[in-house]
Symmetry: C4
Subunit: 277 residues, 4 copies
């Protein structure tokens, strides 16, 4: 049997690449344990993402002329506004990433409130987001309806495909387009250490092997490679070098389309309108 | 001293290889924590096994002309029936893997109920299973008797040998044949990440080294190499490439017999009948 | 400054090597959680140490003509007596490893009882142990006195040196000689996976690098290399290959003395008597 | 965009390197769980840092003529006084590391008490510390004020930069200079195993890759490389070899300044006074 997964990406591209950054800053720590708000040591890990991570990542993306998508919680928009403006000035997309990075998959009402508050914060810096990513990919059953009502074009929280697909809401109407990711294409499982959750810290060559092997096959299949990073992790000096090498690796393949989340979703919507997906 | 572990496998083979897949889909997540039933993000990890994992694995097995055994929980049979039928159509064996993938090693009654319900679900797609694998290898003391009563030929849940052996039931009668596995020959310890259990994600070369070293010695000893995979893990693009490479590696050894669980159990039963094991 | 750690090992050897095996079998699992006694799946991991691990390890040690020390809990002596007799017949040392592998560091009375019961079990197979290793290296403050009263020559439970040293008891009298080990020279941190404690499973080359690097320096310093293994882990096919390679590596260095625990302790006691340590 | 992180280090150096050791000894274990005070097995891991780790590390630093900074809890000063005097005699800096290594980030009063007691212990061996590192980098909001009142020049507990920076206290006055570190430049995430927290043990080549990649980029950026080690971890034979190789690697780069914490803080303060940072 054959099971074709290829998509007719724009410009004849064989594969789409999204470089995405969840710019959580301190919310990565306060969202999981409110006591962390009083712990400067713990918070300093997240603050690094704002003080060093974002500027150095932007510098590298500028050198590489690569587009990216930053998903930013409302709290971060309000407390690191200059960094969000820096991202926008560089021409990258800014998407929605909740307000305070709490996990609300078991509480649709709290999730909706988080969604609204995050939207309001983004509006203050002039952003009307086209896409949403849920903290840690944890979503409630009400998420997609909430997004549809707010007019969002795409969600990028789920892991059940390597291609975009259209969500259908409980009432049968169209929901957002899903741009799937996967834990193995996230920097956090490989390099986010904390005392509360002391995961192993892996080498650049380990992470690159996982990402390269995954890219090689997704490219062969013709799908979407949705890389999920965090300025407090990939913003570390050695990890910026890692991403630079990963970009160079992907560019060594012909016909790779580097795009923002919105560009991918719009391209897929166009194919859908033509009945080509 | 010498301690011979070799078996006279069919056709003069030196070693038997079983490629097995535990097609848990969403039950991997709902079986451990019922709250996951309301968490689309968590569930999407399991659903990937059905939407992408199974079709792409079947495509690869078809290209490689390699037989496999899929152990499928009743819930998955009912909720991903088309994928189970796809497996059957491709000529692979389908075995029993409980109904809902809950761990019932401390509750023989629940285990028996899970067993019966799973059997009923398999019957609906025309499968009368010859073999059983328990979720996570967790079994109660009553498991083997339950299997024997249901007429199952083999169990593949335990880890106390590298060769098949015959279970003897508490009443002295013959139980099923055991086809042992081991955690180091399972994909889950190497690549199953979740927020609730954030295990490290290893590279293809790491996993291949563990599997190849183990194969090399089991081959030398003349035993059974029982590989345990999951469509939501090995079905990821890069991991299908891994399995393809592993199959090629094993085929580079002479006299390797690729077989389903039922074929291995039947071959061993024949040797037993001849008094050769 | 200089800090010499070298010891005048017998025969002019530069370094002593102990190959030790904690033959826990099922007690590794029942000692930590009594509910495991009713879980055949969990227990099968430990039983492998008896059914396959010990015979195949003995076969390899015989081929390599290498002496070893097996620390055996009383429960294992009683339930796998044939395997303990096999070890003795091959000429290896059998030491004390508690009765049921429970952790009793917070309960000196239970520890003493475990010690007595283990001693009685060993006596049944004709063993009067010279050495003791505590399960997981967990010991109570009363351990050394208990050992001294029982006339034990050495303990090998602590990690505070790379050379043997003499314990002094609270009353100022001589206690047993300590033969230190370390977690990094144990197979369990690298390859013992279980659902209850899902540690990563490492490759042979990973484990060999840690062990070789440690050996290289201990050899250079002139100390004791006390390797701690388990038949249910190192008895896996690939891990026996690992140990075979490790032995060959150590033998590629001149003047390495492979010895049992008792031989090392006796050699050190002789140096002590001469005032040379 | 460009985001320059370079600093005009003394003597035209491009990068500053601090070799730091948190000489916790037994307090690493007693600080997290007071029951460990009665557990000789657990404590022996920490004691190794004093019995073997410190002397052998000092021997190697002496051979390499490399300066280091040891942060020592008061308890360790009092219970391993000879080793602290050995460190001082070798000319290394001794800094403050609390009294008993408990985590007090949620209790500013306890933190202040720990700080005062640690200061008193250091005074007994003639040390008036210039720098402080908090156990595990966990600090309360009052930490910086406490340090400022005690006249400390620098803190090295936070992770929000790769360059030194000046803390501003809540009342607007100047606090200590921060010399940031990061978990990936600590030996504990890679090689500290315990039964209570069974982290993976990594190879020298793994740790070296992480440290070298991080050094390479920090060197390129022109920042501070603040390596955090523990005598009970890096004092193991193989890990001393690792550090020796790391030092050689860093010395293969031109214009690297090896300095103590106090030297780095003083150099940065001088730049600050000149308005150059």
């Amino acid at each position: 049997m054959k099971h074709d997964k290829s998509i007719a990406w724009p410009g004849g591209a064989k594969c789409a690449v999204m470089l995405t950054f969840d710019f959580d800053a301190e919310t990565l720590w306060t969202g999981r344990d409110a006591r962390n708000k009083q712990r400067p040591g713990v918070l300093s890990q997240g603050r690094y993402g704002a003080t060093v991570g974002v500027p150095k990542i932007l510098e590298m993306l500028s050198e590489e002329e690569a587009p990216a998508t930053f998903f930013v919680p409302g709290w971060t928009v309000e407390n690191h506004t200059d960094k969000v403006e820096m991202i926008l000035k560089e021409g990258h997309e800014v998407g929605h990433h909740s307000y305070s990075h709490i996990w609300v998959s078991d509480d649709p009402a709290a999730e909706a409130e988080e969604f609204e508050k995050g939207l309001a914060s983004l509006e203050k810096v002039g952003v009307k987001p086209k896409g949403f990513r849920s903290p840690a990919g944890e979503v409630s059953s009400g998420l997609l309806t909430t997004q549809a009502k707010a007019g969002l074009l795409y969600d990028t929280s789920l892991m059940d495909d390597i291609n975009p697909y259209r969500h259908i809401l409980p009432d049968g109407s169209k929901g957002p387009i899903e741009l799937p990711w996967h834990w193995s294409l996230d920097d956090a499982p490989f390099a986010l250490f904390s005392i509360a959750s002391p995961r192993p810290i892996f080498t650049n060559s380990h992470i690159l092997e996982v990402w390269k092997e995954e890219f090689r096959e997704i490219y062969r299949w013709g799908g979407l490679f949705d890389l999920v990073m965090h300025p407090q992790i990939t913003g570390r000096p050695s990890r910026i070098a890692l991403l630079r090498e990963m970009i160079a690796f992907m560019r060594s393949f012909p016909d790779v389309w580097f795009a923002t989340g919105a560009e991918v979703a719009e391209a897929w919507a166009a194919l859908e309108a033509e009945g080509k997906v």
